[in-house]
Symmetry: C2
Subunit: 176 residues, 2 copies
């Protein structure tokens, strides 16, 4: 789904790849849409596992934890051959016509941003970010900018846009 | 195509909407892929028309011209109901499986960035950006970040992510 998108991926392709029967697929998922929503849930659970592991480590300064999160996600993209972010891919493809996917995916992106906002707030309190910085707004900016860099990394099949945007955002926030 | 994406848009839908015959469509475009590439060319020509109009106005300081470009694009998104960027949408959907679209769309994004880089270089020479700033790298960052904000604006059906990312990028560059 990350590689081919939603519409171009037939249920039969999934059945062939997973070696399951059509009956089994529809028994578990009911529809291709329900399957894609379950894929998004699994993807998002994985992102939260990374967030849990990286953000919980209080021995690391908060901005460093934010950087570590994006580094870990970038390494996952690399292992997949730089195909970008599933939330970004399905969000682009489906949110023009499906309110279900639009709201689902925006909720996933917002949830990631709100976890990063807690680290940015911690950095603000520690004096590592300007006192006037709005952590929620700043987290939205970095997550959104990351999504664009993920698209460009997919276009270029390279991790360079990812590291460039994280470096820029973190140093830009510190300097504001 | 912006709303529904590529795969979910049937040629018959296009024929119905444009009230042309299948014979006429295939006479002009040969294939759905060729049609989509022509749509990208038309979209990109439009972007360059905006770039020409905004960047050529030397009575406006260069960073202000960059801002005006993104404001104009954001206004176009608004007029479409915030469906984001066609290059980002088709780039996400198709670049995982099509080298033709991957290279085409990356070329379009890179061309936009290189035009903005000229303004950033002008700002650098005028002392409005740090002397050490790499205009090409900075233009890539702002264009990539914009693409992510365009995705979020599509998810939220709102222009807020667009203005937030431009404000952040332009002030972040100035402060570096």
């Amino acid at each position: 789904m990350l590689k081919r998108g939603y519409s171009a991926l037939g249920v039969q392709d999934l059945l062939d790849e997973a070696r399951v029967t059509k009956g089994s697929f529809y028994h578990h998922f009911g529809s291709k849409e329900a399957f894609a929503l379950a894929v998004i849930d699994a993807y998002q659970a994985n992102v939260h596992t990374v967030l849990d592991a990286v953000l919980a480590d209080r021995s690391v300064p908060p901005l460093q934890r934010v950087r570590r999160f994006f580094t870990a996600v970038g390494e996952a993209y690399q292992s997949e051959g730089y195909l970008g972010c599933l939330l970004g891919g399905l969000g682009q493809e489906l949110s023009g016509t499906s309110e279900v996917f639009r709201l689902k995916i925006d909720g996933c992106v917002a949830a990631i941003a709100s976890r990063l906002a807690l680290c940015l707030e911690e950095a603000r309190v520690r004096g590592e970010l300007p006192a006037t910085l709005d952590p929620g707004a700043a987290a939205d900016i970095i997550v959104n900018a990351w999504e664009g860099a993920a698209l460009r990394s997919r276009l270029l099949r390279s991790g360079r846009p990812l590291t460039a945007v994280v470096d820029f955002c973190l140093s830009g926030m510190s300097a504001h």
